[in-house]
Symmetry: C3
Subunit: 314 residues, 3 copies
């Protein structure tokens, strides 16, 4: 997430009593996770095995538990609990606010947009022209909805990421600083759930249509003109190309890349990146034609095997 | 869908400047898709490969892009964009209306029925005697609910069909002219989603019970006294017989017929019609006993194969 | 369920005109199903094959259709329709009440707890300190929510069990006398559904986190610090240990026991008890490493088989 007001590393070091190493005159302009990091961003690292990756990233400032050697121009802030400082900074930039009124007074809704009965519109949400928010739908804080979008009744957009840090005392929740961004002419089915990104945005591309009860995890990015049938689930941070078609109950794991024009048959389970233009099936999935051939071959084998169960050589 | 006021073919030809061929004195009494068509209905066709099927159907009037030979007694309306005219006619018969109040003033609710807090009841919905609409549930426009029906909290009934026409500029949504019809003594679980039919009705038969988070697609027809466990999905226009039992997370593809008294074990995926009285399992599913035998045989084979991985003949 | 006021067996026998055998001076202190029964409880049995199990249970009073021999100290109430009397007694102890106001006047909400817009809080619900009930969420009657709990928007907690008795005229619903009990620091994702227990409680243990669209069936008990990813389903009365991790779209059948520290990979289907500390995969699932090896072996076999389809010996 971008900060609305930059933070100086010295003021941070003072406030949290952190040891500062390297560049002492840096303004931090954003807070991010390692995979979304840009110049000017602060990140944190707490496991030694990720030190190198973090120090070599484009991050300008790193919260780190040890005073390691600092790369040229960057700032290290050494502290015992890097995650706690990180999470505290996100909470200050994005304070938790209660949703007491059905339509927040800080939401911006285009005059041509329609909000139906019992829908809830969160703080700082934006809703474009000719869009419809169906009855009993929930649009969470900071969600951006384009023009000509239809959110069917009972859809829940912009809720918290399912993202926790394991500690000795249980799971600590990351405060989600990201948003959900829905482009023009998208349709979101009844009962869908779309989570905010943790530090980046969850994005639904122009013209994409989601059937009912689809789940989109934190930070996932869907391309344009995709069709996702009912009960499909896409886990966090996965990137889906344009014109992708997923039939019912498909599941896609996190951090994957699905190429353009991929088709996934019903109930497929995806655990690795998929190449553009191809059709897949199965759980774990493979190319559909190959999977069909394999299934037919195995079925034949199984029958032969049952017919001669005591065969000496097989 | 049936039209509340018939349309004369000549007035249509004039209004949309269409070329009229065949019967010049026909009253259109309904608008339909090809698979639901009745005498008196108007349909559309835009791909030459479907011309024959459309012309030979019981439809009385066909919107078609070419002036082909017209069957005896029927009317052809020749136009460049048959779907656009079709969709416009549905929109006129079933104009889109916003749901601003929790309970529409055009809904009809039996005095003995109960509507709980934060529920939304759509335009022209009908709710029978001794039925309960749970908290935060949504009953969409034109939905018909019988007597003694329980809609659990948060269920969403009568939302738009997931049905689009692919165009050069993306997906164009069909205006759904159908309804959801729920017969007596049905129970719909929390978080279920049931879509309206596109031109016909989605039907839930008498005494059928749905657990939570079940999805029923547009125009699907469920028989009497079925039990569908949680997270089952039935795709559009599939017909399910009486006393069918589906365990959790089963998925059924579209346009299929599932016979009476079929049982489907958990997580099964159905891609073809299923015979009455049988028990199925797997994805894609087969008869349960056979599938179990096959699985056992394959497991055995796999173990043997692992034991002698470099075997010359196998 | 515990009765708030004990019932004397003689008064029951008189009111329903039942024949009483055995102990004539017994106070019934609870009503239960056979698998949850405690001393002082009334149960019912209607199939002769379950007579022995019921008579030998710790139940103190048994509704039964035949005057069989009565065990020492217990009471038999002989009646034609034991289930009808049982269900009537549950209905009297837990009468059905309509939820007309968003927040029931009989709910108890800690002053530090937050209830967001359009949420519904049921009769006799209890919500602890620093807990948040998200927008449009539903908390059903008698639900108990601990401290520091977050219920995301649109979650539906404490709805009726999917539990019916088959009769000649269709399915008769059991009145659920149980509750949902959610311990401290639990998080429930958007669109989740959690059913009440039929006679016992559905329990979510301390620190456990549920992603969106998870379903938890009636009477299921989840341990502490579990993580359940999106679209997981747990069927009724299953007991899940501590620190269990389930990836997306896993399904677990009813009446099972899942040990501590079990991990279930995405889309797994569980049909039997699972041992503590192990990792499982597949549907039906097996130990993950073994299943992976089997899949690889079968894939290799299928390819060999395809390469020589007319082989004489295989």
């Amino acid at each position: 997430m971008q900060l609305s007001k930059p933070l100086h590393v010295k003021s941070l070091a003072e406030r949290f009593t952190l040891k500062l190493a390297g560049n002492e005159d840096l303004w931090i302009t954003g807070i991010n996770e390692i995979h979304k990091v840009r110049r000017g961003d602060l990140i944190f690292v707490d496991a030694p095995k990720y030190y190198a990756k973090s120090l070599e990233s484009t991050a300008s400032c790193i919260l780190i538990p040890e005073a390691v050697s600092c790369p040229e121009g960057k700032t290290l802030l050494v502290c015992d609990a890097p995650f706690e400082v990180y999470n505290q900074l996100v909470l200050e930039a994005r304070p938790q606010r209660t949703q007491k009124s059905s339509i927040s007074e800080t939401a911006w809704i285009h005059p041509s947009a329609i909000v139906e009965a019992n829908a809830t519109i969160g703080h700082c949400a934006v809703i474009g022209a000719n869009s419809t928010i169906g009855a009993n739908a929930v649009i969470g804080e900071f969600t951006v909805i384009g023009n000509g979008v239809t959110i069917q009744p009972g859809a829940i957009v912009g809720t918290d990421a399912f993202y926790y840090k394991k500690t000795a005392h249980g799971f600590r929740k990351w405060r989600a600083g990201g948003r959900v961004v829905i482009h023009d002419e998208v349709e979101i089915g009844a009962g869908c759930t779309i989570n905010k990104g943790v530090s980046g945005d969850t994005v639904i591309g122009r013209g994409t249509k989601l059937d009912c009860q689809v789940h989109i995890g934190h930070g996932a990015v869907l391309g344009q003109h995709c069709l996702l049938a009912a009960q499909v689930g896409i886990a966090g941070k996965t990137v889906v190309g344009d014109r992708v078609v997923m039939y019912g109950q498909v599941g896609v794991a996190q951090n994957l890349t699905i190429g353009n024009d991929v088709t996934l048959y019903a109930k497929s389970g995806v655990g690795k990146d998929l190449e553009a233009g191809k059709t897949y099936f199965g759980a774990p999935c493979g190319e559909a034609r190959e999977m069909m051939r394999e299934m037919a071959a195995l079925r034949k084998l199984a029958r032969e095997h049952q017919a001669k169960p005591r065969s000496g050589t097989n």
